[in-house]
Symmetry: C2
Amino acid sequence: MDDKQISTPVSLHEIKIKDQFWQKLMELIRTKVIPYQWEALNDRIEGAEPSHCIKNFKIAAGLEKGIFEGHVFQDSDFAKWIEAVGYSLMWHEDQLLEKIADEAIDIVCAAQQADGYLDTYYILNGLDKRWTNLRDNHELYCLGHMIEGAISYYQATGKDKLLKAMIRYVDYVDTVLGPEEGKKHGYPGHEEIELALVKLYEITHDEKYLKLAKYFIDERGKDPLYFKEEGKRYGNKFPWEDSFFQYKYYQADRPLRSQQEAEGHAVRATYLYSGMTDIARLTKDEELYAVCRRIWDNMTQRQMYITGSIGASAYGESFTYDYDLPNDTVYGETCASIGAVFFARRMLDISPEAQYADVIEKELFNGILSGMSMDGKKFFYVNPLEVVPEASEKDQLRRHVQVERQKWFGCACCPPNIARLFAALGSYIYSGKGNILLMHLYIGGELTHKFDNEEVTFTIKTNYPWDEDVNIMVSLAGSKNFTYALRIPGWCKTYEIKINEETVNAQIINGYVYLQREWKSGDAIHLHFAMPVEVMQANPRVREDIGKVAVMRGPLVYCLEEADNGPDLHRIYLSDTPMFHVQYEPELLDGVVTITSNGKMLDESSWGENLYQSYRSPVWQVKKLKWIPYYAWSNRIPGEMTVWIKS
Amino acid sequence: MDDKQISTPVSLHEIKIKDQFWQKLMELIRTKVIPYQWEALNDRIEGAEPSHCIKNFKIAAGLEKGIFEGHVFQDSDFAKWIEAVGYSLMWHEDQLLEKIADEAIDIVCAAQQADGYLDTYYILNGLDKRWTNLRDNHELYCLGHMIEGAISYYQATGKDKLLKAMIRYVDYVDTVLGPEEGKKHGYPGHEEIELALVKLYEITHDEKYLKLAKYFIDERGKDPLYFKEEGKRYGNKFPWEDSFFQYKYYQADRPLRSQQEAEGHAVRATYLYSGMTDIARLTKDEELYAVCRRIWDNMTQRQMYITGSIGASAYGESFTYDYDLPNDTVYGETCASIGAVFFARRMLDISPEAQYADVIEKELFNGILSGMSMDGKKFFYVNPLEVVPEASEKDQLRRHVQVERQKWFGCACCPPNIARLFAALGSYIYSGKGNILLMHLYIGGELTHKFDNEEVTFTIKTNYPWDEDVNIMVSLAGSKNFTYALRIPGWCKTYEIKINEETVNAQIINGYVYLQREWKSGDAIHLHFAMPVEVMQANPRVREDIGKVAVMRGPLVYCLEEADNGPDLHRIYLSDTPMFHVQYEPELLDGVVTITSNGKMLDESSWGENLYQSYRSPVWQVKKLKWIPYYAWSNRIPGEMTVWIKS
C-alpha cells in the first residue's frame, strides 16, 4: 500500500447535507425513524414483536424486576440506535432527542458491573457463564456496537459518560482475552468489535485497543481452533454440526491470511473485512491488505447482485460460491449491504479508486435504500430481485422473501443499522488527504474544509440521481492552491467537466479526475454525467441471468412491478429494439424518474390445459413496460416484482 | 362412472415378459436387487446405513436382545421386499429365494402379539403407547404394506402364513378404529392402508375391509380434526406447528371431497388418491370419483415434470402449487412417481383412457427408472432435471439433489418400492373387460388369456422403445370373436396398424384403437409408431421453463450430460434450426439410442472479470450436442446434467 495514497473521511462536523434526494430521507431518519425505533426498543409499537432491549438494561440495572428476553444480542439494538442519534445530532440539534438519549445512557450505564462488564444477557443469566461461548453468544459483537455508539454520541455532544463506560468495559475485556498466558485465546463469533476497537484507538490513540483488534484478526481460524476447544470445554451445542458450513459460517475455517473468497454469514464477513482492512492500513500489513483486495474482488466480481446485495443464500444468511446469484431465493440482507459499504469505505481510505465508491453508491441507492419503506416505518431484511407472492406463500425456499416490508423484527438488526448508516451519510461524501479533497458522492450541501488552516467552503447543488448535472461553488478568503478530485462513476460513459464555463480535459486516475489549481472564491465547477437508460447484462457465468437483461439509469437499478405492468412478469421480454422514455413523476413514490419502454409478452391464451407439447414458435403480445427505481418497490399494492427480464 | 367401462388388470400368472428393454431389468431385480436388499435389511451392506429392519423383528420376536432402531416405519422395508419377492416368484421360480422368504416370514410372524398386533416400534417401545400418534407414527402405513406383501407372496406361492397373520392384525385393528362408539375415530397420517384394505377385500371378499378403507377415506380431514385432538390428548409434538403446511402435509386440512388439488407430501398423496379411486370404483361413488378426476387433472396438468416426477419441493417432500416446477431444486421422489403409477392404474381401471397409461409409461421409462443405477445397487431418492455438482455441494437449497445415486438410505423407502414395482411390471401391460383385452404398454412377451374360457395366446415381439415396431401374434385353437384394443401413446403423432399385412383404419376412442373381429390362430398385428425426435416445450405458465426446450423420442425424455457435452450446460442453446441424428449405441449405458444435434454455446471467454456490463449481442460458439435417455444419467463419471436447455 502506498502511504501517500491513504486518505481520511471528512468529519461530519464539516458537512451540511442539503439535497433533494437524500435530505428528506435524513429528515425521515431524524424525525420518524429514530423516534419510532426508540418506541420499538421500549416495546411500545403495537403489532410489532417486542424488542425487550431497554427493559433488559433496566432489569440488569436493578430498576425493574424480570428476566432477560429477546435475542442474546439484543443490547446491540440500543447501541446502533444511540450511534444513529449521535450522527443525527451532528447535523441537526435536537434537545428532546438528546434528553431521551442521556436518560437511556443513564439506564445502560447503571447496568454496568463493578469490573466494567456490561452485557445484559449474562448479567441476567449468570456472570459465571460469561466468556464461555464466544462463538455464538455475541458478547464481543454487542461491545463493538456499544463502542461505536458511544463514540458517535461523544463526537456529537461531547458527552463521554457512555464512552468512559465502554472504555472501562474494554479495559476489562483486555484482561480476559488476548495472546498472553492466563488469558483466553478467543475471538468473536460475530465480528464487529475489530472495527470498533480501531475507532476507539483512533480517538484515544491508546495502542492497547489497536493491539487487541489486531489480535482478534490474527488469531481467527488458527489451529487448534478456539471455537472447537471452547465448545468442548463448556459443552456448547454447535449449530453447524451437521452442516457443510462448519466454521466457514464464522469465517474461521482457516486463518484469515489464507482465505480466498468472501465466505459464510455475509454480515459477519463484511464487518470482519472492514476491521481487517483497518488493521492492514494502521499496521502497514501488506500481506493482510492483499487478502482484503482478494476478498474484495471476489465479493464484488463474483458474489454481488446488480443491486449491490450480497449473501445469495438464506441458509446461514451467507455467501455461497462464485457466480451463484439466484434472483428469487436470494437473501441479500440489508445489513450485509451496509457491511459492504463499511468495507468499501475502508478500502477507499487506503487507495482512492472509484470502484470502492461505486459500490458505496450502488448500495446506497439500491440494496440498502430498498430496505426501508418510504414512510420509514417498515423494513426488509431480505432484498429480492424477483418476487412472486404465491411463491413466497407456498414455496418454503422463498418463505424468507417477503412481499411487503415488516414493521419490526424480533431480530431487528436491519432497521437501526439503516438508521445509523443514513444518519452518517455525510461521512461518505468526501475524503481529505493533505491538500487534496476527494469527492466520492454527488450529494447537495455544504462542506467547510481546511487546507493548511485555510478554510474553504464548497456549495454543491444538484438534483442527482434524477438530473445529470452537479454544480460546485468554491468560496474562500483570497485564493488557495489545492486539488479537488472528482469521482467519475463507473456507470458513466460520457461526462463533461467545466471550471468557470471552460471545459476541462483532465486525466482520470483510478476513476478520479484531479483538478489542481489556485482556486479563487467564486470559482464554479460544473459536472455533467450523461444518464441514458442502460440495458445491462450479467456475466454468462451467472446461470440465473443468462438470456436476461436489467435496466439502469445512472446509479439506479430499475425494476418492473405488478402495480404498473400487471402479473406474470416472467412472461415479459424486452423488445429486440428497445426504445426508452424517461420521465420525472413528482407525484409517484415521493417523486421518481420512471422509464417506459416497448416490450412483448409471451402469450399463454393459445395454450389449453396441456403442460407440455411439441415446440411451436411463440406467440407474442405487444406490451408497454413501465420501470420504477428498484429501491421504491413494494410501496404500493403488494405484487410481483422483477429486476431481470428476458430479452 | 360407466360400469361397462370398468376393467381389471390381467393377472401376473398369465404373463411372461420377454423383452429386450425390460427383461434385463427384471432379471436384475430378481438376481441382484432383491438379494441385495435382503442383505440391506439384515445390515450386511458395507458402507451403507444400517436398516435394522430384520433385527427389530427378531428382537420383537424374542429371538435377539436389543432395542428398536431405525425409523418408526422400518417394518415396511420388509413388507415391500416380500411383496417384490412375491411378484418375482410369479414370473420366475427360485427355491432359494422362497426359502429365505419363508424364514423371514417365520421371524416376522413370531413377533406377532396375542391380540394380532404386529408393529415392532411399539412392541419394543411399549404397547401401551400404540395408537397414540396415528398422525406421525406410521402404524397403519406399515400394516398397509404388510398386507400388500402378504397378498403378493400368497398369490405367488399359495402360502398364507403371512396373509393369515395380517388378517388377524387387521381384524384387531378393526376393533380399535372406526366410526362406532368406543373406537378411536382416527385414520393414518401416512396413507397406504386404504389401497391395501381394498386388495384384501378383493381376495377375501370380506366387506369389513372395504368398509374400514372407506371409513378412512370419509373421515379424513373432517372437523373436529382427529389429528389435533389426538395431538392434544397425548401431547404429541406437531412437526408442522410453525409451518404453512399444517395438516395439508397429510392431505387432512379439509375433507377429501372438498379438496381441489394434489397437495402435501407427494407419496402420501398418491397412495391416498389410489385408495380413494379404489373406493370410488367399488362403492360407485360418483362424488368421490369426481374428486379423483379433479386431482388427477391438477397433478398431471399442473404439477408434473416432463419426466413424470412429482413433488416440486424438498420441504415436506411435497406438491407446491400450480405450474411451480423448478428443475434444479425439485424433489421428485422416486416413490412419488411410483405412487403416481398406482393412482394412474386405478383411474385406468375405471375408465380406459390413454392419458392414464401415458402417465404409467412416462413414469416407468423416466421418473422411476432414473431412480436406480444400471447395476441395481444404487438409488436416487430425488430425481432432478438439472444438476450442477458445485450447487449440490455448496447451496443448501440443492443439498438434497444428489449427483450420484446412493447405496442405501436410512429412510429406504425408494429401493424396495422400485423392486416391487418392476417385479410387478407385467400387471401394467393389460386389462381385461369381458371379451375385450386392452393393451396399455408395449412390452415383449407372452400373454395367455381366456375369453369365455377359450384360451388365446398372444406373443409380442418388439424392441420398443428403441424401435418403432411392435408385432403381436395370435394363437388359439380354432377362432374366437373378441376385441384387442391398442393404446396409441400420447406422444405418438403418426402410427400404422396392420392385421395380416393389411392396414387397419380404426377409430380411436379415448386413445385406444379397438380391433374387433373373429380372430384366428396365426393372425398377426403389426404396429408402427413413428418416433421422430420431438422438441418439447412447457406451458408458458411454468416460469422455470420459459425460453427452454426438452428433447424426447417416443416415451423417453432425453438429457444432456457433462460426460458427453462438457461442463456449463446452462450456456448451451439448441440451434434455431435443429437437425437430429439418432443412433443405437450397443456399448453405451447397456445399449441406448442416443441423439446428436447441432447447438450453440454462449461464449464467456470475451468477458473479463466484470460481473455486469452494458448489453452487447451474444457471441456464440458452435456446439455439437449429444443426448442420452434421462433414465440413464449418472451412470458414468459424475457431472452436470440438464433436461431443459435454452432455445
